[in-house]
């Protein structure tokens, strides 16, 4: 090969790199490991991380522990799906393309929307993109967002919107754990009103009332979510008048994986499709008139439109979207209803049990699979002792809502048994 290219050595191939640009010494990296050494080392690292079932985790807050069927893991690991690139050549990418078209359809049905895109990075960036889209549609520069949207999502929104000079107005929350929209009337020139439901406290928002208020102000109604499974049970955003539904799809068969990769879900109305960010797969026919699928409406995207694109996104979270479709197909209409119901009912069991044990449930609005509870002052030491018993008793809200010190956000999914919850109640009762 060297002879063909007219070089005497591999070094000759790099003659176009000026001498003073070359790195001479060896990179300071560890010596290569064999497969077996690597396996041992990685297992050791992985073993230091506390996970279920050794630990009983009652933490959600944007990352949820759900059962993942063996079929989903196995199918999502099929190498033709895993090792392909973005389906720019449809004739040899029909697997990915039909799979993503099905994902778009199921995602749209879950959220009650007309069209879903092929995925964004995560729930937080999906919300930021939704707000940018609202700004493009309305040509206004201000958005109102609920203070009960996941605090970390709000920070991502701030990072995305700040430098471009857009204004964020935060809506306070009510004593019942829902967003206070009473001041909305006084805010003018809003591009969007964004809430999360179930919100960060687990409470289900009155999406219809919020949507109505947003539309009165000629703003878009944006509904974010961190727990996609909730819409197996709850009224979906589309049916409640939301214009954009966006959020995190990790609950749909995707491992928690320390927070990523997740799945940025994004759905909206057909009339706004040309303003939407991200890839879209559409149905068409091939030369023989047979049904097939292609990437479409690419003129919105960066590789065609460059600086004028609707978003800069290129690589998205396609395999996670496909995984979510596999999961939604596996549970089906019948299953998702039952599963979501089970999440709610189990969570109610813990909520009532804690109440009976004398703890105060802070907000009385209905919740899905998370809720806020007030523990006694100085609970931090008890929390640490519970950790030793391999119980993680929720997430402290003190960092995110300083006014809620001693308050904890607890989550119960279908993975928790009655015994797990009884034990938590018993242990908490001991402190």
């Amino acid at each position: 090969m060297l002879k063909v290219v007219g070089a005497d050595s591999l070094d000759d191939l790099f003659s176009s790199i000026p001498e003073d640009c070359r790195h001479k010494p060896n990179l300071h990296l560890p010596e290569p490991l064999t497969e077996w050494e690597l396996n041992d080392f990685m297992a050791e690292l992985s073993d230091t991380i506390a996970v279920s079932p050794q630990y009983s985790m009652f933490v959600g807050a944007g990352s949820y522990e759900h059962h993942i069927p063996a079929t989903v893991s196995s199918l999502a690991g099929r190498s033709e799906l895993v090792t392909s690139y973005t389906p720019y050549q449809p004739e040899i990418s029909q697997g990915t393309l039909q799979g993503i078209y099905e994902y778009q359809t199921l995602a749209a049905r879950l959220l009650g929307m007309e069209v879903a895109n092929a995925s964004l990075y995560d729930g937080a960036s999906a919300l930021a993109e939704a707000l940018l889209m609202s700004i493009r549609i309305t040509r206004r520069k201000k958005v109102a967002i609920s203070s009960l949207i996941h605090p970390l999502y709000r920070r991502v929104v701030k990072t995305y919107l700040g430098p471009a000079g857009f204004e964020l107005v935060e809506l306070p929350y009510l004593a019942n754990g829902r967003t206070d929209i009473s001041k909305l009337g006084a805010i003018n020139d809003l591009a969007a009103v964004a809430v999360q439901s179930p919100n960060f406290f687990g409470c289900i928002e009155d999406l219809q009332a919020i949507g109505k208020k947003a539309h009165e102000k000629e703003a878009l109604s944006v509904t974010a979510f961190t727990e996609a499974l909730a819409y197996g049970l709850l009224k979906n955003p589309g049916s409640q008048g939301s214009d954009i539904g966006c959020g995190e799809g990790q609950s749909l068969g995707i491992p928690q994986s320390f927070g990523g990769p997740g799945l940025g879900m994004f759905a909206g109305k057909m009339k706004y499709v040309r303003k939407m960010p991200g890839r879209l797969v559409g149905q068409t026919v091939d030369m023989d008139g047979k049904r097939g699928f292609v990437l479409t409406l690419a003129t919105r995207e960066q590789h065609i439109r460059r600086a004028k694109a609707t978003s800069n996104i290129c690589t998205n979270n396609s395999l996670c979207a496909l995984t979510a479709a596999m999961y939604m197909a596996s549970v089906g209409h019948t299953g998702i209803r039952e599963l979501a119901g089970l999440n709610h009912d189990k969570c109610e069991y813990l909520k009532k049990g804690l109440e009976k044990a004398g703890f105060k449930i802070t907000f009385d609005s209905p919740t899905f699979n998370e809720f806020v509870v007030k523990f006694p002052v100085g609970f931090e030491t008890a929390y640490e002792r519970l950790l030793e018993k391999k119980i993680v008793a929720g997430l402290s809200l003190a960092t995110y809502y300083p006014e809620l010190s001693d308050h904890y956000l607890l989550c119960v999914t279908e993975t928790k048994t009655k015994e797990d919850m009884d034990e938590l109640i018993k242990e908490l009762g001991n402190y």
Binding site: P69, S84, E91, G165, L234
Partner: protein, 485 residues
């Protein structure tokens, strides 16, 4: 057409999910109901999403059939230029699926997460060493997300100096994400042309660089597969006007252990772990786009950052000048595990070797094909080379038709019609993981397609013939969008 890899097997048709199944089926083992029902107010509940009800076998056959319609790097050579479709070692998948990594909750107390934080901290160090940079964030989810992070850092840097600059220089060979990321951050992208040699000249940059220009975005090696040989002088010129130099690391696969961008004037850059560091692309993602910076930009990196205090790894928010957060949590950790595992199994020697072989393979393809296809820039290339359809103009055969015909021979087509500066571009990146035999088959296939263009052009116009689908009507798809069933 002589004997080739491309053939047809028994490919089974498969309807859409909702065209299958029967009410009441479920492919999911529903957990035991061990608590009483506690119905929600019916005001709040809906009818549940209109999903099909399918059995486990329905679902398994569905996706197994779909997967056979896909071409992946495990199927065959995938010489997609600038995408670095190298083989993705299976061992890395194994590591990412270990229960601790796959099951870690991002908000559990740090004392329960030490292994995950150690992995992130060490990966940051390795990437800093490979790029010659001082600090790294792993938070961006993909290359374009890294670019956006980089643009935010540049904006914050200038702001900290009390200035707000409105423009940024972006060469005409750049990926579309570069101007899009710059614009998203409020910068006006300023295009500059590459010279006759296919690289940026110092003069072209000096001409546009002024005190209202925040810096320059440079892909090096560039998308023509050429090393930007004037980079040091360009960086000096940009720095002298107070600007910063951003490196798009999409093409890092050419220079691991050979050039460190931090040593040649680049202030910050992103890497694509799903390219250079062999994590699979998943049909479009997830990826990971870490951003590496020199020390003067470290204060602006996204939070939280992994730090070590008293032998404990922690996540710290205590960086007041940070641009903020780009994702809810810490980035695509699952992708980081694979890249970390790749670096550990390669070591410095093999990373350098990988780059050297990727460059050898690309130059070999270039030499072997330059008589058959027009070579845009006839000079030594790095890890990819760019041809065009100029020789086929006479037969009225286009790049697209040659690309489609390659599928019949059993290869994924190269990147086509990019970079924009080469009309009808065919951009080939063989990567280091293809053997000479495989590359020779690819070369033979392209040569015989070039012959077919002369002797039987209809074969190209009708291509592909052997795939699951024939040529698709993309115009109809865009004109009457059907985006959900």
């Amino acid at each position: 057409m002589k004997e080739t890899l491309g053939t047809t097997g028994l490919i089974l048709d498969e309807p859409l999910l909702w065209e299958k199944g029967k009410k009441g089926r479920c492919g999911f083992s529903l957990p035991r109901r061990d608590v009483v029902a506690s119905p929600l107010d019916t005001e709040l509940t809906g009818d549940g999403p209109d999903f099909p009800d399918l059995s486990e076998v329905d679902v398994v056959r569905h996706y197994t059939r779909l997967s056979t319609w896909n071409f992946g790097i495990d199927t065959g050579m995938y010489p997609l230029g600038s995408c670095t479709m190298k083989y993705n070692p299976k061992i890395n998948e194994r590591q990412a699926n270990l229960p601790g990594f796959a099951g870690a909750h991002p908000l559990a107390p740090p004392s329960l997460q030490q292994g995950a934080l150690q992995l992130m901290s060490e990966l940051e160090q390795y990437l800093a060493e490979i790029t010659g940079m001082d600090a790294v964030t792993l938070q961006p989810a993909a290359g374009a997300h890294g670019e956006l992070t980089g643009m935010q850092i540049i904006r914050s840097y200038h702001k900290s100096k009390g200035s707000s600059r409105s423009k940024i220089i972006v060469p005409d060979t750049a990926h579309g994400t570069n101007p899009a990321s710059a614009a998203l951050c409020g910068f006006h992208p300023l295009p500059v042309k590459s010279n006759e040699q296919g690289v940026l000249s110092l003069d072209a940059v000096v001409e546009v660089m002024d005190e209202d220009t925040a810096g320059i975005m440079v892909t090096n090696p560039n998308t023509l597969g050429l090393f930007e040989e004037n980079i040091k002088k360009i960086a000096e010129a940009v720095h002298s006007k107070g600007g910063l130099v951003y490196g798009d690391g999409a093409n890092m696969n050419a220079v691991m252990g050979i050039v460190r961008m931090g040593d040649i004037g680049i202030d910050l850059m992103h890497l694509n772990l799903h390219k250079t560091f062999s994590t699979p692309h998943g049909g479009g993602g997830p990826g990971s786009g870490p951003v590496c910076v020199k020390s003067h930009l470290e204060p602006f990196l996204p939070v939280p950052r992994v730090i070590k205090r008293k032998n404990q790894f922690l996540l710290s928010e205590d960086f007041p000048d940070s641009i903020g957060k780009m994702q809810a949590f810490y980035g695509n950790f699952g992708v980081m595990v694979r890249a970390y595992s790749y670096i550990l199994s390669m070591g410095h020697k093999n990373l350098r070797k990988a780059s050297r072989l990727s460059v050898l393979n690309a130059n070999y393809v270039k030499e072997m094909l330059k008589g058959s296809l027009h070579l845009a820039y006839d000079r030594p290339c790095m890890h990819e080379c760019v041809f065009s359809d100029r020789f086929q103009k006479e037969q009225k055969i286009s790049t697209l038709e040659m690309a489609k015909r390659l599928m019949d021979y059993g290869f994924h087509p190269p990147t086509i019609y990019f970079p924009l500066v080469v009309h009808g571009a065919i951009m080939v990146e063989p990567t280091e993981t293809e053997s000479k035999e495989e590359i020779d088959l690819f070369i033979d296939a392209l040569k015989s397609i070039v012959n077919e263009a002369k002797e039987a052009p209809e074969l190209l116009r009708q291509a592909p013939k052997k795939c699951k689908a024939k040529k698709m009507d993309e115009t109809a798809a865009a004109r009457h969008p059907r985006l959900a069933g």
